[in-house]
Amino acid sequence: MTKLRFPVDVNAWIGPYPFRELPHPDASVLVHVLHRERIGQAWVGALPGAWHRDPSPSNAWLSEQLSPHADVLRPSPTVRPDWPGWQAELDRAVSNGAPSVRVYPMQLGIGATSPALAALATACGERGLVVQLTVRFEDLRQRHPLDSANDLTAAHVRAIVRADTCVHVIVSGAGRELLEETHWSLTPAEQERCYWDWSWIWGPPEDRFAHLLETVGAARFVFGGFWPLRLVQAPLSTFSLLPAHLLSLTTADGAGIALSAVAASRGSASTASG
């Protein structure tokens, strides 16, 4: 079998995008792309759910779409932590085998100090679900006038990571500035529960990704492709253009992060029961 370039793409979606036409954002096409690019699996969200009042219907649709491809595509349902009954969505995620859930505070107007975020962090920590955050869907300069949500802030990421000692967080689409502000404002123990994809971090000639690998460390990074919004080749290219001495570094992988989250939740449960 051909060697995989990355075992898991933690950040893919399926479904239409409200602000422009996306070419065939379908599960079967994603499976084809993963195979072509030698990526083992993807964690997949329902793209329209990021803008829905109640994400439950889009999560149900997501499960249905992914079920024929269960060996390759794993669900990452959307959770709205200020919506009645949101904990049930987490329980459904666990029973469906989801490694993570996605929350979009900026699209929902949830501030960094909202108790809803802290409650979500605790609930996910207890269940061993990784929390996934998206900094942005498109570049600020091209957004539709109705797409008025700002980029995710470091304060949001800090609030979730600090809210619970078990919660594990993956942030997608951060640039160097947001990543550094967040990483260096966390304790070492908190840093170890926070992961970043490098899909919006530039390679040469600025070499920001190389810089961050050397300062923040390769273990904080995980592969995320941003499909179907962006070319999955972008983070692959950024990695392949690293200076030779960095190419041998091992980044985190989704499966390992999910296992850590589950292990932390069990530790939490035994501590609580003891």
């Binding site: 422009r20 570049d139 300069r141 091209q142 530039w202 390679g203 040469p204 972008a234 253009l241």
Partner: protein, 270 residues
């Protein structure tokens, strides 16, 4: 399938007066271009990149000294690097003299950034002169500029199209469809303008963008390019390679269109 050669018609370098780590930056660019397989890049330096005068409103002195630094880099890498001559149209006499001086120093194109709106009559003398000399004009474009942004007088495709219509014998490169703004807006504006060649550069890697441009303007007018982010340039090259293009079409986009629009014998392709 891979292209037989690769020419980047939208590149930039730095120099001692623009950033402290210019040598690292330039070396990184050359190393990455080698890794990608770029045969030659056509590059410019925009004055002092904001250090002494604004990047997009560079003073005449900074324009000239930046160009000199660019020519020195091209002299040192004659096969891998060719030069644009960068000018600020607000200083028309200086700009025209700088083009003449640049051609003598080996420049093969004119670089206009965001110093003056493209449809402004002040740009006509430069567009005309470039056409007479057979030099393409690489024009910075903000795709669908809906307002003015600080520190630049950016143009969008509508304004570049107005200039291109007034100068049908001059070829224009519409800069970085992935470089910010709404790339979909520019497609319809330039679809039927044969002397505008959009380049694929910029940090943007939206799915659907390359397909839309190939469909609209055809492989004979699209130019693969990098600008400031070589990682996204490689991504777009790899995307072009799996789009199902014919070898000739891929070659057009990746190097042959550049050979056609730059002066004869600008590139040594081995």
């Amino acid at each position: 399938m891979a292209p037989r050669h690769l020419i980047d018609p939208h590149a930039h370098f730095h120099w001692a007066e623009s950033r402290d780590d210019f040598a690292r930056y330039n070396a990184s660019r050359l190393r990455a271009c080698d890794a990608i397989g770029v045969s030659c890049q056509v590059a410019s330096i925009l004055g002092t990149w904001g250090k002494r005068s604004p990047t997009y409103f560079a003073s005449p002195g900074d324009v000239s000294s930046g160009n000199d630094a660019m020519y020195a880099i091209a002299d040192a890498e004659p096969l891998r690097v060719r030069s644009f001559v960068h000018v600020n149209p607000n200083h028309t006499i200086h700009a025209l003299a700088e083009i003449e001086r640049g051609v003598a120093r080996g420049a093969i194109g004119v670089k206009l950034s965001a110093s003056r709106r493209a449809d402004d009559p002040l740009v006509d003398a430069i567009a005309h002169d470039a056409g007479l000399r057979g030099l393409p004009v690489l024009h910075h474009v903000w795709q669908h500029r809906q307002r003015d942004w600080a520190n630049q007088e950016a143009s969008d495709a509508l304004e570049l199209a107005a200039l291109a219509r007034r100068h049908p014998n001059t070829n224009f490169i519409l800069a970085h469809i992935g470089g910010g703004g709404d790339w979909a807006h520019s497609i319809e504006v330039i679809r039927d303008l044969p002397n505008i060649f959009p380049d694929t550069s910029g940090s943007g890697v939206d799915r659907g963008m390359l397909d839309a441009y190939v469909d609209a303007v055809g492989p004979s007018r699209l130019l693969w390019a990098a600008d400031l982010t070589l990682c996204t340039a490689l991504a777009k090259l790899q995307a072009l390679e799996v789009m199902g293009l014919a070898q000739d079409d891929l070659d057009d986009i990746c190097w042959r269109n550049a050979v056609r629009i730059f002066p004869h014998a600008s590139f040594t392709l081995t």
